[in-house]
C-alpha cells in the first residue's frame, strides 16, 4: 500500500486520482464521527480518517510523518481511546438531541462562516502559486532531512517537548492514581461484617444477577419474589452508565409460556 501511495505521488495525475477518491471518504468519515450515536463507532471512523491522512502525508513526500501517523496515531492513540471507551462503557450510546438551546445553530453557522472564510483566505494566499515540491529537500531521504532539522535548528524545542512528554506521563499517573484512604478490608472482616451487621439479609451474599432459567447475564438484575428488580444484584458501574437491562419483559405476568404449552 505504501508502495502504491509512493507511486501515486510520483506523477500528477495518479495523485489527483488518489486525492479525489480518498478525500471524499475522509470527509464522509469525519462527518460520520459527528453523526453516529456510539462512541466506539466514532473511534473506528476516526481511525479511518487518520489512515487516510497518512496516505495524504506520504503522497506529499512526508514519508516519515505518514508512518508515524499510522504507528503513533492509529496504533497508539486510537488504542488508548478505545481502551478508555472500554472502561467507560463500550456499549453506551449518546443521545444526539441538543440540550443547550441555540447551541447547534450557532455552532453550525459559525462553522460555515469559519470554513468559508478560511477557504477564501487560503485561496487568496495560494492561488496561482505553483508548489515547489520537496525533491531537493528530500534528496538525502525524508527521514535524514527531518533528522538534520530536528537535531540542529529544532534541538531545543525537541528537548523541551521531551520534557513535556515526561511531565504528561507523570501527570497522567498522578491523575489516575487512587489514594486509598482506608485499609482494604480483609476477607475475615468482610465476613464478620456480613454476620454481625444490622440485618442478616445479605449474610449469604448478594443476589446474583440474571433472571433464572430465562436470561442469564450480568447486566440483568435478579427478580425479587414480588417480581421487582433487585438493584444490588448488578454491578453499580453498569447501573450508573445505563447499561443495565430493563426487567420488565421478564416479569411474571408477561412471560411468554406458549412454548412450554406446545410441548
Amino acid at each position: 500500500m505504501i508502495d502504491l501511495a509512493l507511486a501515486v505521488g510520483q506523477t500528477q495525475t495518479p495523485e489527483a486520482v488518489m486525492f479525489w477518491i480518498l478525500a471524499p471518504l475522509t470527509v464522509a468519515a469525519a462527518f460520520g464521527m459527528l453523526l453516529v450515536k456510539k462512541a466506539v463507532h466514532s473511534a473506528i471512523l476516526m481511525a479511518s480518517v487518520m489512515i487516510n491522512l497518512a496516505f495524504f502525508y506520504i503522497a506529499q513526500d512526508a514519508l516519515f510523518l505518514g508512518i508515524v501517523q499510522i504507528v503513533v496515531y492509529t496504533g497508539a492513540v486510537m488504542m488508548l481511546f478505545l481502551f478508555i471507551l472500554m472502561l467507560v462503557g463500550v456499549d453506551s450510546s449518546d443521545s444526539l438531541t441538543e440540550t443547550i438551546t441555540g447551541l447547534r445553530p450557532i455552532a453550525i453557522t459559525a462553522a460555515v462562516g469559519f470554513g468559508g472564510l478560511m477557504v477564501s483566505l487560503l485561496g487568496r494566499a495560494t492561488l496561482g502559486r505553483p508548489a515547489i515540491g520537496l525533491e531537493s529537500a528530500n534528496a538525502n531521504g525524508n527521514v535524514k532531512g527531518l533528522a538534520q532539522l530536528l537535531f540542529s535548528t529544532y534541538v531545543w524545542p525537541f528537548e523541551v517537548v521531551s520534557a513535556l512528554l515526561i511531565t504528561a506521563a507523570l501527570g497522567a499517573m498522578v491523575l489516575a492514581h487512587h489514594q486509598r484512604i482506608q485499609t482494604r478490608p480483609t476477607q475475615r472482616e468482610l465476613s464478620t461484617q456480613r454476620f454481625r451487621g444490622i440485618s442478616l439479609a445479605n449474610a449469604a451474599g448478594l443476589p446474583a444477577p440474571g433472571v433464572f432459567a430465562r436470561h442469564n447475564a450480568v447486566d440483568v438484575p435478579a427478580l425479587l419474589p414480588d417480581g421487582s428488580p433487585a438493584a444490588n444484584s448488578v454491578n453499580a458501574t453498569l447501573e450508573a452508565r445505563g447499561d443495565m437491562l430493563a426487567t420488565g419483559v421478564f416479569e411474571l405476568g408477561k412471560i411468554d409460556t406458549s412454548a412450554g404449552e406446545e410441548k
Binding site: E15, L53, Y73, I100, A131, L164, A172, H178
Partner: protein, 99 residues
C-alpha cells in the same frame, strides 16, 4: 493537481472537528474531535512544507503530534478521574463552574 486542494480538505476537516467539539456531549468523542482538528492542522503543515519546498512544516507537524499525544494522555486521565467520581463521561454533567 493543485496542492491547495489539500488545504481545502484540511479546512473542511478542521471545521468538522470544531463542530464536533461543540455539538457532541461524550467527552471521549469531544477529545477525538480535538484530535481531528489537530490532524487537519498537521495536514495543512505538511502541505505548506510541500508548497514552500522545505521540511520545516513537517517538523512542526511532528511537534504537533508529540503535543497531541501528551494532550491525549492527560485528557484521558482527566476523563477517567471525572468518570470515577461522577459515573458519567458527559461534559454537560461537569458544569459545576456556574454554581
Amino acid at each position: 493537481m493543485d496542492a491547495a486542494n489539500y488545504l481545502y480538505l484540511s479546512v473542511l476537516l478542521f471545521t468538522i472537528g470544531a463542530v464536533g467539539v461543540v455539538v457532541r456531549r461524550n467527552a471521549i468523542v469531544v477529545f477525538m474531535c480535538i484530535e481531528l482538528m489537530l490532524n487537519a492542522a498537521n495536514l495543512a503543515f505538511v502541505t505548506f512544507s510541500r508548497i514552500n519546498g522545505d521540511l520545516n512544516g513537517q517538523v512542526v507537524a511532528f511537534f504537533t503530534m508529540v503535543v497531541a499525544a501528551c494532550e491525549v494522555v492527560v485528557g484521558l486521565a482527566i476523563i477517567v478521574t471525572i468518570y470515577r467520581s461522577r459515573r458519567s463521561a458527559s461534559v454537560d454533567d461537569a458544569s459545576l463552574l456556574k454554581r
